[in-house]
């Protein structure tokens, strides 16, 4: 333990670190998907995870709110993830409470077949919030934050499935931020969206990062360079390079990173 601490300085000492990942190894059955990942996600910053398919970036993302618990045969074999200094894989941690703090937006927009209002109010209702005034207020705020309010304010009671793909994804973001998490994980949030809808999502990420810490997995290099403050490049389950986005795109340290960013492989 003491040896560890010398190699990896305690995250708690760094005031702006929201999520500290230390020496994390993760297995799907017997195959190792993540190998000794060390990474710090800073508060109110957007961190992009890039890398070719199967490199482990989505797996790492799903580790941060323990969504991988839902997949049988998976486990963290080594290391830790700390959110606000708390080891989330500790026995005493309640996964349900963790996920209230670490929300997630999925690749495929997945609104419930309910009204727009009910979709956004869903998380609060699950927490037992019954006060109509509070719900109305949170729904309006969340929809405004996700830049959807003007488009849907007159049809809040209509089915969410009537929205366009981009609107549905922004609704999913509204739904996630309605419960005021600390961290918002986004797993390729724009991969199914057209450029205009993508631009709207990127803009809202930019506007919201003053309140949340974002992690965005993306296959789109331009998106990573536009939206993120820091970028982590993964390859074959390993973290190859991690630094400021500006630096990684203009002056990568490693050849492999440069090759990937410039489109020579992956």
């Amino acid at each position: 333990m003491s040896e560890h601490q010398e190699i990896f300085p305690s995250h708690e000492n760094l005031p702006d670190v929201m999520v500290g990942i230390r020496d994390l190894c993760f297995n799907y059955g017997s195959s190792q998907a993540l190998k000794h990942i060390n990474l710090e996600l800073k508060q109110n910053k957007v961190t992009a995870f890039i890398g070719p398919s199967g490199c482990g970036k989505s797996t790492l993302l799903r580790c941060i709110n323990r969504m991988n618990d839902e997949i049988p045969g998976t486990r963290v074999t080594q290391g830790s993830i700390r959110v606000e200094g708390v080891d989330i894989y500790d026995r005493s941690v309640d996964v349900v409470k963790l996920r209230r703090d670490v929300g997630m937006v999925f690749q495929k927009s997945n609104p419930f077949p309910r009204s727009i209002y009910e979709n956004v109010a869903f998380g609060l209702r699950m927490r037992g919030e019954k006060n109509k005034v509070v719900l109305d207020q949170v729904v309006e705020e969340s929809l405004k934050d996700s830049a959807l309010w003007d488009e849907v304010k007159d049809r809040l009671q209509e089915s969410a499935l009537g929205l366009s793909g981009g609107q549905q994804q922004r609704l999913c973001i509204a739904r996630t931020i309605a419960v005021k998490p600390l961290v918002v994980l986004m797993d390729e949030p724009c991969s199914a969206l057209d450029p205009i809808a993508t631009a709207k999502v990127e803009e809202l990420i930019y506007n919201l990062k003053k309140d949340y810490t974002f992690v965005v997995v993306t296959h789109n290099m331009q998106q990573a360079s536009r939206v993120s403050d820091e970028t982590a490049f993964f390859f074959m389950g390993e973290l190859i390079e991690f630094s400021e986005t500006r630096r990684i795109f203009s002056n990568p340290k490693l050849k492999k990173t440069e090759d990937y960013i410039s489109g020579r492989f992956g």
Partner: protein, 375 residues
């Protein structure tokens, strides 16, 4: 090498005769099955409809559907007129014509009056067994689909449930008899002599007595529920699995507990599937004779199940008549003659219409819900 034959083949393709023969054979078999089905329906329709439909308003023999089942008396009066009267009207007739001689008198059990008792009994058995089967079946399906992890044990459990569907219904009947009728525990202060085990409770002189529920509605419902459990579990599990994983992920990622997720994001969207397949299971339950023979059904009963009871729950412990068992009784236990045909074909006709409308109803429900629930 240029060979025009290889590009455009003239004449019949190779194996033409065999293809035609196979197609005709398969088509013939299919039509044969349809013809057999039509013959069954036709026979029952032609012979059963006269018992139900009348030429006068309201065109349906209400009495046959609402009167209780009685013995049929057939006799000639002094003028040579043939009378067919159910037992109650027969005694009225005898009282009114005191001293008159009746000729060629015959009686046919169960053939007079109507079939209100069997209809009501079948309805109660069906509703009761569905409530039990849905509760236990959906609970098990939720566990299997949402909680259980893939393991050899769970695999064995699933296999056991599937095998349950293959057990003959008479075996369920005997199982129900030995368990629900004779062995399940009840709380009573007067345990029966045949009680297998009594455990005294500390309240008054009440004991937990393993003496069964006797032949009763609740025992029949429990037996029928066991029989359709595999259908309900399998269908429910499939409906649950058909709900997109994204709904579960979204709910969990928002900090929903597993049960909240199931209750709000999975069950509502799988309920239509569960209900429609359950309606098909109802049709099967309504038609079973063997499981209720020893557990719930009686051939003759003067009152409807709820008549003459001190408390409404007594209906659970009363025996009932049931349509399939009634048909069995009419067909096998009494001498057949022209006078029994009305009761026989009439009952079969009513039964068939009930079951067919259940199947039809489930088809309509499925089509409607499919249209409504899309994602």
């Amino acid at each position: 090498m240029f060979n025009p034959e290889s590009i455009i083949r003239k004449g019949r393709p190779k194996g033409y005769l065999r293809e035609t023969l196979v197609r005709s054979f398969l088509r013939g078999i299919t039509y044969l099955i349809v013809i057999i089905a039509l013959m069954i329906f036709g026979k029952i329709l032609i012979d059963g409809a006269p018992a139900i439909f009348t030429s006068k308003f309201p065109f349906v023999d209400i009495e046959f559907l609402t009167a209780k089942n009685e013995t049929l008396h057939v006799f000639d009066d002094a003028q040579g007129t043939r009378h067919q009267l159910p037992a109650s009207k027969y005694s009225d007739y005898v009282n009114a014509h005191a001293g008159a001689t009746l000729y060629n008198e015959q009686t046919f059990s169960y053939s007079g009056g109507g079939i209100a008792g069997p209809i009501v009994g079948t309805a109660l058995l069906t509703i009761g067994s569905m409530i039990l089967a849905l509760f236990f079946g959906v609970s098990a399906a939720i566990y299997l689909a949402e909680y259980a992890k893939q393991s050899p044990f769970i695999h064995a459990v699933r296999l056991a449930i599937l095998n349950l569907a293959g057990i003959p219904s008479i075996v369920f009947g005997l199982f129900g008899f030995s368990v629900f009728v004779l062995a399940v525990p009840i709380i009573t202060n007067t345990p029966s002599d045949r009680s297998m085990l009594t455990i005294p409770l500390m309240v008054g002189n009440y004991v937990l007595s393993f003496q069964g529920w006797n032949s009763s509605l609740i025992a029949g419902c429990a037996t029928l529920a066991c029989m359709i459990l595999p259908v309900i579990i399998t269908a429910s599990e499939e409906s649950l699995r058909a709900v997109p994983q994204g709904f579960r992920d979204a709910s969990l990622a928002m900090g929903g507990t597993r049960w909240q997720t199931i209750r709000k994001c999975v069950l509502p969207y799988s309920l239509p599937g569960i209900l429609t397949s359950s309606l098909l299971a109802i049709a099967r339950v309504a038609g079973e004779t063997a499981p209720i023979m020893f557990t719930a059904a009686v051939a003759a009963k003067d009152d409807l199940p709820w008549q003459g009871l001190s408390n409404p729950f007594g209906v659970l412990s009363s025996q009932v008549q049931a349509l399939p068992y009634h048909i069995y009784t009419l067909a096998a236990r009494i001498p057949n003659s022209e006078y029994t045909e009305r009761a026989q074909y009439g009952s079969v006709f009513v039964f068939l219409v009930l079951v067919a409308s259940l199947s039809f109803g489930s088809m309509i429900l499925r089509a409607k819900l499919r249209k409504k629930l899309k994602w």
